[in-house]
């Protein structure tokens, strides 16, 4: 933030903060263009950073130390840093898709990525409203588009998790078995439990039955 105010050029994962983002985000619409969604989130994170910086610097100018000012606004700083991490994950997701050569795979991951981006915008809609980055009409379009994405991902959902390539042993789950034989697996697991090794549990014999007979 200090360097931005001094007009210096930022590099690395914060280089997007150099951009001016003066335009409105008219390209954010029901098509969910990834570049438009990313730019919107980058804008949000820059606005949050500058907003927090002003609050911190105001506090310092009124006589507080940097540490006092930081502590005073630390919850807002936390939210701002989370927004920056969201930009990083979106950016790397989009970059990774750009490198995929198989069309079918790129297509399904693009749908997943679009959902990821729009879901994160909708979940944090308050920030976008605070800085006037979206209109009411755009929010309505984004929400509708987000729900439409669900039906696009739905046919590939099982393949998307099969691709993680976890063996049944690693999943260690009766519910998540590759063959889907869930209920038999639950019953087989129960047979292993030491608590089922005896028909009558010791505590029932020693405590419960005598108590009931009293």
């Amino acid at each position: 933030a200090r360097d931005i105010f001094q007009g210096k050029n930022l590099v690395g994962f914060v280089s997007y903060l150099n951009a001016n983002y003066t335009t409105e985000h008219q390209d954010v619409d029901s098509n969910l263009h990834l570049s438009a969604l990313l730019r919107l989130c980058q804008h949000r994170s820059k606005r949050m950073l500058l907003y927090i910086s002003e609050l911190v610097f105001e506090k310092i100018n009124s006589g507080s130390s940097l540490e006092q000012a930081f502590n005073m606004w630390s919850n807002e700083i936390k939210n701002m840093a989370v927004a920056v991490c969201q930009v990083y994950t979106m950016e790397k997701f989009i970059e990774a898709i750009g490198q995929i050569k198989e069309n079918c795979l790129a297509s399904v991951l693009t749908d997943v990525c679009k959902f990821y981006c729009v879901f994160n915008i909708v979940e944090n809609i308050g920030d976008f409203l605070q800085f006037n980055l979206l209109t009411q009409e755009q929010i309505k379009l984004l929400k509708t588009a987000m729900y439409n994405q669900l039906s696009k991902i739905r046919p590939s959902a099982v393949a998307l998790v099969d691709a993680f390539d976890f063996s049944d042993r690693l999943l260690h789950s009766a519910l998540g078995r590759y063959d889907g034989q869930v209920y038999q697996a639950l019953y087989d697991y129960a047979k292993l439990a030491p608590i089922n090794s005896k028909e009558v549990h010791d505590s029932c014999k020693e405590h419960l039955l005598p108590f009931l007979k009293e």
């Binding site: 933030a1 200090r2 690395g12 994962f13 914060v14 950073l49 930081f70 630390s74 700083i77 936390k78 701002m80 840093a81 989370v82 920056v84 991490c85 969201q86 990083y88 994950t89 790397k92 997701f93 970059e95 990774a96 079918c104 795979l105 297509s107 991951l109 997943v112 990525c113 959902f115 990821y116 879901f119 729900y147 669900l150 039906s151 991902i153 739905r154 046919p155 959902a157 099982v158 393949a159 998307l160 998790v161 099969d162 691709a163 993680f164 390539d165 976890f166 042993r169 999943l171 260690h172 789950s173 519910l175 998540g176 889907g180 034989q181 869930v182 639950l186 697991y189 129960a190 292993l192």
Partner: protein, 436 residues
């Protein structure tokens, strides 16, 4: 195979194996991992995975050490990078017997030894002639490293450091086999020479005998008590009372203390954080992986589980067909993929920056430290949140240990705290952003 899953797999729009290769580093790596698993699959010594669910804490520690050593013996050191994966594959409810040996002890030695020290220590560590842990955090001191109280006072007459944990709050505390298993550790202590404090420095310290595993003179270690998860790894504490170690057990790649007590400051004060950065990188990966496992369980089960009629008389349908189930599960699934790709990117950056740092180029260190702190927090928070979502999506059966989800959730939830409390970590990112 359940007919619903057959139908889903037939309807997929892509070949999952191409995606598997993209996620796990290519066809060769995937095949190698599968071959390793296959070669161990029928080993009679690795058939007791369900048994481990029902063990006490002491039995869990015993079980984990025994099985870890079995894998080391069976596979040798050549497959070192796959030990964690293999162990998790065969014993998902357990942890590798000494996970921090390679992750923190050996990697710190590699990063911070000078050439002479490296020749001596690295073969011992990497061939598992010794078992190491890490001792930085103290009962009363965590993130604020300047506040650590453990002292290392240089004695020029004997050319030794004298180590002490002088107060109860300075008792070392590291939840990674420091208490019962390790016989060496990297200890972080305030260096004093002629009454002047030079700040925190890393030392290599023997804590238990190589003959009978008893305490070395002046050392007491133990387990501070059971914890929320990861109970096959001890919750170690350590007290030191005038423990003497030779001068060359200060790791001197950067900062040095000469025989006469002259202190030579190295170029990079942040280098001590390097091993923590690699661990944070691994935590991001582990978060993505745990969330991926939870999604696999919940999505497959949501296809098998049938409930409610969308229209009267239409019969029950897969719960994955309901919008609320899709919204919850696909937000978890899309987050998993986002975390995977973020990890791949930051891992590449991490390897590059640490390689550069080893050659003295440290200008990217702060950047890496900051983004790793942020992503560690983000990934563990999100994984914890969405694993819980996946568990809720499995209804009543999700509560059962047999679902695998309570275990995944508790193991992931604790990662929000270990290796740095998330809020403190993300504030480090925030501080960096305000400064730059």
């Amino acid at each position: 195979i359940h007919p619903n899953l057959i139908k889903e797999r037939k309807g997929a729009t892509f070949d999952p194996y191409t995606l598997t290769c993209l996620l796990w580093g290519g066809d060769e790596v995937v095949k190698h991992k599968r071959n390793l698993v296959a070669s161990l699959e029928n080993d009679p010594n690795l058939q007791d995975e369900n048994l481990s669910d029902f063990l006490s804490q002491e039995e869990k520690i015993d079980f984990a050490i025994k099985k870890t050593i079995y894998l080391f013996r069976k596979l040798g050191m050549n497959e070192r990078e796959y030990f964690m994966f293999l162990f998790q594959n065969f014993y998902p409810s357990q942890q590798l017997g000494f996970p921090l040996h390679f992750a923190m002890f050996a990697s710190t030695l590699k990063l911070l030894c000078n050439p002479e020290q490296a020749n001596y220590w690295l073969p011992k560590a990497f061939n598992l002639e010794i078992v190491g842990s890490y001792a930085q955090t103290e009962l009363g001191h965590g993130t604020f490293l300047k506040g650590l109280e453990t002292t290392a006072v240089y004695d020029p007459l004997n050319e030794e450091f004298v180590l002490n944990t002088p107060t109860i709050t300075s008792t070392k505390w590291w939840s990674g086999q420091l208490g019962k298993v390790a016989n060496y550790c990297i200890i972080i202590a305030q260096l004093y020479i002629k009454n002047k404090c030079y700040g925190n420095h890393p030392f290599v310290l023997q804590i238990r005998s190589l003959e009978d595993h008893s305490f070395m003179p002046g050392v007491i270690t133990g387990d501070i008590g059971p914890k929320m998860a990861l109970n096959s790894i001890d919750n170690g504490f350590m007290k030191l009372d005038n423990v003497r170690i030779p001068r060359n057990q200060l790791l001197m790649k950067y900062d040095q203390v000469l025989k006469d007590g002259t202190y030579i400051s190295g170029p990079n004060k942040k280098s001590m954080y390097a091993s923590m950065m690699t661990v944070r990188c691994a935590i991001i990966m582990a978060s993505a992986q745990s969330l991926a496992a939870a999604c696999t369980i919940a999505v497959r089960y949501s296809v098998v589980r049938q409930q409610s009629e969308a229209e009267q008389g239409a019969g029950e349908q897969s719960v994955l067909n309901f919008q609320t189930q899709q919204y919850r599960l696909f937000s978890a699934l899309s987050t998993t993929y986002a975390l995977f790709f973020a990890w791949k990117s930051v891992n590449e950056a991490c390897q590059q920056i640490l390689t550069d740092a080893a050659q003295g180029k440290t200008d990217q260190f702060l950047f890496l430290h900051s983004i790793l702190a942020g992503l560690k927090s983000q990934s563990t928070w999100l994984a914890t949140k969405y694993i819980q979502t996946c568990r809720e999506c499995c209804g009543g059966h999700g509560v059962s240990s047999a679902s695998g989800l309570p275990l995944l959730e508790s193991h992931t939830a604790v990662s929000c705290t270990y290796e740095g409390d998330n809020t403190v970590m993300i504030l480090q990112t925030g501080k960096f952003l305000l400064k730059c």
